[in-house]
Symmetry: C2
Subunit: 279 residues, 2 copies
């Protein structure tokens, strides 16, 4: 009954006395989002597993929002639609980005903040430098900015995939986060290799590596003879260090990278102190 923890779409509480967390005392409220859109099978596999841990509400983009990074919507208004699967109210589809979904869920749709935000399961890995383009990760980052423990989970699969093992991984990590919490300002970026459960070699706590897309642009001409460009490219795993996320997934491990949104290059501060900047 996820709607009992949600306000109506007018922004007013539907049932002000029924707060999801308060009602059952110890039941965790888990917000699930993604960047592949609310109909994505990865999101549904994850939600089904997370229901074993608590009450799940989904607030996700109405359609794919891949590679939006940490975009938020400020110049146009957001639209929200209740989203059902058969008779069940799954949650809300929004016209916004993954970060928007978390913001509006926490600030306007939910009566109480969720205990945990889980973003995914993304179709395709979010490893190395690609993490900064990831809408999946940005949704979890937004939650952590708002003070809510969070994790992002991605499956290293391009096309149709078996989500079941990754969903179990998501549930297991979610249980740990609910039980142990996370250090302030830290969230988890989880990547699961596309292997049957029995062939996954275990978990590795990794650092963000330097794998990335090598891009090129394909130039074409439209029927009016105007040029246009498609971004294309191929994914390069550059990481031969077993400490990295890219190595872990390429070698059959689930990669768990603790990440933060403090971008400061602390080691570089001393070097810059010697620069000639003043008049």
């Amino acid at each position: 009954m996820p709607t009992s923890s949600a306000r109506s779409s007018s922004g007013c509480p539907t049932e002000p006395g029924r707060l999801a967390s308060g009602e059952e005392g110890t039941t965790a409220l888990i917000l699930v989002t993604n960047d592949d859109g609310i109909t994505s099978p990865g999101l549904h596999a994850l939600s089904a597993e997370l229901k074993r841990l608590g009450r799940v509400i989904v607030v996700a983009p109405e359609a794919e929002r891949s590679a939006v990074g940490h975009a938020i919507t400020t110049t146009i208004p957001l639209r929200i639609q209740e989203f059902r699967r058969g008779d069940e109210v799954v949650g809300f589809a929004t016209s916004g980005t993954p970060a928007d979904c978390v913001k509006i869920a926490v600030r306007a749709l939910l009566e109480v903040p969720p205990d945990l935000v889980v973003s995914g399961i993304n179709r395709g890995s979010n490893l190395g430098t690609n993490v900064i383009y990831s809408g999946t990760v940005s949704a979890a980052t937004e939650a952590r900015i708002l003070g809510i423990p969070s994790l992002a989970i991605s499956l290293d699969a391009d096309a149709d995939a078996d989500w079941s093992y990754a969903a179990v991984v998501g549930r297991r990590l979610a249980a740990q986060v609910l039980e142990r919490g996370l250090p302030p300002g830290v969230l988890l970026n989880v990547n699961v290799p596309n292997l049957p459960a029995g062939r996954v070699r275990g978990f590795r706590i990794t650092r963000q590596g330097s794998s990335r897309f090598t891009e090129e642009f394909v130039a074409r001409e439209d029927p009016r003879h105007q040029p246009y460009y498609w971004l294309t490219g191929s994914y390069e795993v550059n990481d031969d260090d077993p400490e990295t996320d890219g190595w872990a997934v390429a070698n059959g491990y689930v990669s768990v990278t603790p990440i933060s949104f403090d971008l400061t290059a602390h080691a570089a501060r001393a070097e810059l102190a010697g620069w000639d900047l003043d008049d």
Copy 2:
């Protein structure tokens, strides 16, 4: 003559023998971009100052792209238009995001990679947690991912502003970066207080603080009685630590923060190693 370093809009070199950097040996090629759009006065003030250091080419969004974070455009093609100011070819306006602009400039429009990418001058600061939403910063980040030294520069002004001092700051920092380089994977996030030159107290090498927007959503109803939501909020300076970017700008200093795109929370890795994750 920035076009001499540019390919034609069909993706083919216009004058294959005339490469900007090669032609004059030591002349620096500087790519300027932003997220306020190619007609922004901040971009033009910056470009004018940077011309004292080398050859400047502008590749910027055709209109405002604020708060797009590190979004890139993958599901629709990009459009490019030559952009002139009077007789002068300034560069190219694109239909993409700031990160797209840097990618397509380096991968398709320029014959040789620029020696430096400068993004700005943004109207409004990019401080604390807000850095992760910033299109201005993401353009500089994209450059650094591509191996090109870069800096982002923002002026702490809401409306019409005097860009002249901030442009001088941008030129002075650009000169230092061209002369000294930057550590691998490190770029600069520069924020200038909105003060007359004589009242700025100097430069501080800072860390990213925790100032941020406190958001709320304003719910309205459209003429068809459907709800919609505007994101709004106010900027909160939470930083009383003089090491932070927010403190520096609030206290009349130019803030220079070295940042990176390695999001790993290295200190948290040991803690996670004790979690119960394996079957």
